[in-house]
């Protein structure tokens, strides 16, 4: 049961072969038993999860079941969940119990899904290794010496280690795709505006996007059907006809033109990653696709542009955490300014402070034109690169991350090295395009390698088709890390 796909679990529940309470209890037991080993969850609440499972069972009994009714899903702790602690991985919100549900959470609730727990994450989603969480780093289930990637590292770990059948993540610069790659699972960041940002604690508003993380593309499609849709409470949410993302899964790939950006296949990729990606491209050719070389000439600018724009927005988005109305407040202070200073000094971690300072700097009078305005112009150029490339190909592929998972502590004192681990994923957020990562093999130390698939705007159904056909032909997505030894 722990290895079943979402559609299998859904079918078992609908046929009443298992109850949601049984299923939830089983995953809960495992999550709780292994959490001290992986640190994937910040909050586990058996009572709350089982209450949702009982409600799901009633819904199934009454004949009102939908595809995800009764299925446990782990929720990234960036999503406000009514009645649950919602920390965003920060001490600043270590006492914040949300009085409302995020738009995405409402959709899962309406579908009758069960929240199995709140997953660990880099503080305020700032990080690529899950080492910036106030709640400590998450371990990579393939090798607990390695990072799971970030910032949705807890979600990626929970799915890879079978603590939950699927999970939600958010992706501002690669935070769904990079941990999916490093943990050997599938993850998708939809087109900007497709999933509601309401109730998703903001990091960089113009880049943040919620998406699904699961074992297979088929599972991602089922989740996407639930997660996406217009939300009038989010002004950047797109008004579109609802889509069934499972509809194109089976389509053959004959004639598919895969664009390979020449800028992606250069020295920065480690050999093991290059080998696995090459092998997956060979598989795609076997499936009837052809590859064409494309160019994204401004690729090298993505990381610097991102590290101007994302901190700029973050410095403003995080100013609401001032200790006045909710969240952490310093116990002792002299006056109002001292209260702000101490609350923020103690409440935020080093990476968050670093980005607030960068953001404050690039927005300040005298530097705004040189940094912020310039970065916005380059952002447009980066988006134009993709538009040009999509004239020559249907889909773009490359490695998700230049290396397999690195070791805990390996890059934590070198922010620039850390930032470069998102070099391939960031441009996609800057352009607002959809991107995904699927497992395509293993590299050094048997650590997973991810293939990055980038589609044009609103091409999620096609991307899932491309990923699904590959997963029908291969079994990388079904591989499991070894069970940890000596766990009660």
């Amino acid at each position: 049961m722990l290895n079943a796909s979402l559609s299998q679990l859904s079918a078992l529940l609908a046929a009443k072969k298992i109850s949601s309470v049984e299923l939830t209890a089983e995953f809960f037991k495992r999550a709780q038993a292994l959490n001290s080993h992986y640190n994937a969850f910040i909050t586990l609440s058996e009572e709350t999860s089982l209450a949702q499972a009982r409600a799901a069972d009633r819904l199934i009994a009454s004949g009102g079941a939908k595809p995800l009714t009764g299925v446990p899903i782990a929720q990234k702790d960036i999503f406000c969940t009514k009645g649950w602690l919602t920390t965003c991985g920060s001490r600043m919100l270590s006492n914040f119990v949300s009085p409302y549900d995020a738009g995405v959470i409402e959709r899962f609730n309406a579908a009758g899904a069960v929240n199995i727990g709140k997953t660990n994450m880099d503080e305020f989603a700032m990080g690529s290794s899950n080492e910036t969480s106030f709640y400590g780093p998450v371990k990579n289930p393939w090798d607990i010496a390695a990072v799971p990637g970030g910032s949705s590292g807890g979600s990626a770990c929970a799915v890879a280690a079978r603590l939950a059948p699927a999970a939600t993540g958010t992706d501002t610069g690669g935070s769904i795709r990079q941990p999916a790659a490093l943990c050997g699972i599938s993850g998708l960041k939809p087109t900007y505006g497709l999933a509601s940002r309401y109730g998703m604690i903001a990091f960089a508003s113009s880049l943040d996007q919620a998406g699904p993380m699961a074992k297979s593309a088929e599972d991602l499609a089922l989740m996407l059907n639930v997660m996406t849709g217009f939300d009038p409470r989010d002004s950047t949410s797109l008004q579109r006809e609802p889509e069934d993302y499972t509809r194109d899964l089976q389509k053959p790939l004959d004639g598919l033109r895969i664009g390979l950006p020449k800028e992606y296949f250069v020295d920065e990729i480690s050999d093991d990653v290059a080998r696995a990606v090459e092998a997956s491209l060979a598989e795609y050719r076997k499936l009837g696709a052809k590859t064409v070389e494309v160019s994204l000439p401004n690729t090298s600018l993505s990381v610097p542009v991102y590290y101007v724009l994302a901190p700029a927005e973050a410095s403003s988005n995080l100013s609401r955490f001032d200790g006045v109305r909710y969240g952490y407040r310093a116990p002792e202070y002299d006056d109002l300014n001292d209260m702000y200073r101490k609350s923020r000094a103690h409440g935020f971690g080093a990476e968050v402070k670093r980005r607030i300072l960068i953001g404050t700097y690039v927005l300040s009078h005298g530097y705004y034109d040189a940094y912020y305005i310039q970065a916005q112009k380059l952002r447009r150029l980066i988006a134009q690169d993709f538009a040009e490339a999509f004239k020559q190909c249907d889909i773009i592929m490359g490695p998700t991350s230049p290396t397999v998972a690195f070791n805990l502590g390996e890059k934590s004192n070198d922010p620039v090295q850390m930032y470069l681990s998102d070099a391939y994923t960031i441009a996609v957020n800057l352009a607002g395009l959809p991107g995904m990562s699927i497992p395509v093999g293993f590299g050094n130390k048997n650590r997973p390698v991810g293939l990055h698939i980038v589609g044009n705007y609103f091409s999620e159904a096609q991307m899932l088709n491309v990923a699904h056909r590959y997963q029908l032909a291969t079994d990388w997505h079904t591989r499991m890390p070894a069970e940890p030894g000596n766990i009660d």
Binding site: S98, A202, S235, E313, S316, L318, S319, R325, H365
Partner: protein, 492 residues
């Protein structure tokens, strides 16, 4: 040396929407602290702003009224600073590309016409309120005001005296009320001004260093604060000092301004476009819709009143000082098209005086325009004298006032006969029957032989005395014109 004062105003007009500018919470005034602050106003983690169309429409309406350019796209920006009553840590405002750019406002001051140019009018949200009184050694936060929609109307430094500044603020106040975008309630802070004041030697075209006086919420304070500030600056310069650019507060109790903060500790607000709000597209269609739903402007109505009703410019200006007066007047004049001047006199005279005494506005007038028009018709057709009409008016007023329903909420049909009822029941009808008048006059001639003698000897005064006697005998109801005519014939 002669000094010239240079003034520019920033007016914050609270827009009359039901809900806030970026949330669905109510804008109602005077409820318990934080009762009308929703998750968005409290800036809970994860919440997002959604723009209220009604606020944009009101801004467009203002822009059209002052002949400004309506920008499309218009951009919302974040103005970042820390303050406990600013829950998000930034205020959503407009910086580059406000909804309204340019425009002019023209008004009369001391018999001459003055035009002030506008720089811009932009939409923004209000902050909350810090409550210092109710908490010992602590401060409470009330976020009911947070997110209230404001239109900040920024003028060029085109005013040269406190009188001009007050006249400008008053005309703006009347305009925003007229076009229905702001209730203008200054006690509740719905309309407040910041004044930028500098002085320079007369004849100079270089601007002096300015000080900004914040939050003036009455025309009187505006006037006094500007006068005080100009005097203060002149004194400093005349004593050889220089003016520091500052933000100042006016203290009405001491009648002085004092420094709040100087340019040196001015904040860097780090404005940037709000990524949670897409650029606002305002289509030509939308502008046309707003235009056709906007009322006739006071200036347009003023010339129309002069043209169509033949009113003097003074009368038309008085009647268009407020939309409720203007509408009331037109409703009366429509019923009595033959004598708009009589209508204007009674609206500006008796009716305004009674309303003022009772502190009411025209839309809360006890008498309906129909009722007033009927009374005036009875003057015109000679049923009552103008003097008697005042008594009838008084009685009509008391009756309707005691019924305690403003005319706007009453059925127009019941209006028609009030004046007639009172004239009839109190026997106030003018005596125009020539037989009855002749009898009265004959009695007066018989009883006042001396006056008759004097008149015949050429004393015109004696004639007036005789008319007075007739009117007295008729208990004020005799038609004075007829009395005059009959008496003169009789004395020939």
């Amino acid at each position: 040396m002669q000094w010239e004062t240079v003034i520019g105003l920033e007016v914050h007009a609270q827009l009359s929407t039901q809900s806030k500018i970026f949330s669905g919470a109510s804008t109602a005034f005077g409820v318990a602290p934080n009762a009308e602050a929703c998750a968005v106003d409290l800036a809970l983690p994860g919440v997002l702003p959604v723009l209220n169309r009604g606020a944009v429409e009101r801004a467009i309406r203002f822009g059209l009224a002052v002949g400004a350019k309506i920008n499309s796209p218009s951009i919302f920006a974040r103005k970042n600073y820390f303050y406990p009553d600013l829950p998000k840590g930034y205020q959503i405002s407009q910086y580059e590309l406000p909804v309204v750019e340019g425009g002019t406002v023209t008004f009369q001051v001391a018999e001459t016409e003055k035009t002030v140019r506008l720089v811009r009018a932009h939409l923004e949200e209000d902050a909350g309120k810090s409550l210092h009184e109710d908490f010992h050694g602590m401060t409470g936060i009330d976020l009911n005001r947070a997110g209230t929609p404001l239109l900040e109307i920024v003028s060029e430094p085109d005013m040269r005296s406190s009188a001009e500044a007050v006249a400008y603020a008053k005309i703006l106040h009347s305009l925003v009320r007229w076009i229905g975008i702001c209730d203008g309630n200054m006690q509740e802070g719905s309309f407040r001004c910041d004044a930028n004041v500098s002085v320079r030697p007369s004849g100079s075209d270089k601007l002096g260093t300015r000080c900004e006086i914040k939050n003036l919420n009455s025309f009187r304070f505006l006037e006094k604060a500007i006068d005080h500030e100009a005097r203060r600056q002149i004194e400093i310069i005349e004593e050889g000092g220089i003016i520091q650019q500052q933000t100042r507060l006016y203290d009405p109790d001491k009648d002085e301004t004092r420094a709040m903060r100087s340019k040196e500790d001015a904040q860097d607000y780090r404005y940037f476009p709000d990524p949670d709000l897409l650029p606002l597209e305002i289509s030509e269609n939308w502008i046309s819709e707003v235009r056709s739903a906007s009322p006739e402007l006071p200036s347009q109505m003023r010339s129309r009143l002069e043209r169509d009703y033949g009113l003097s410019s003074y009368d038309s200006a008085t009647l268009t000082a407020d939309r409720d007066i203007a509408e009331y007047f037109e409703a009366v004049a429509r019923k009595l098209p033959s004598d708009p001047k009589l209508c204007a006199n009674w609206v500006m005279g008796e009716t305004s005086a009674y309303l003022n005494d009772e502190g009411r506005s025209f839309d809360h007038c006890p008498l309906s325009p129909n009722e007033l028009a009927q009374l005036l018709t009875r003057i015109k057709d000679g049923t009552i004298s103008g003097k008697m009409a005042k008594e009838v008016f008084r009685q009509m007023w008391i009756k309707r006032r005691d019924e305690a329903t403003a005319w706007k909420s009453r059925n127009a049909q019941m209006d028609e006969s009030l004046a007639d009822q009172i004239i009839e029941s109190q026997g106030l009808k003018q005596i125009s029957d020539s037989g009855a008048l002749e009898n009265l006059i004959a009695e007066v001639i018989a009883a006042n032989g001396k006056s008759v003698e004097e008149f015949k000897a050429g004393k015109e005064k004696a004639f007036n005395a005789l008319v007075g006697q007739v009117m007295k005998a008729g208990k004020g109801k005799a038609n004075p014109a007829q009395v005059n005519e009959i008496l003169r014939n009789k004395l020939k």
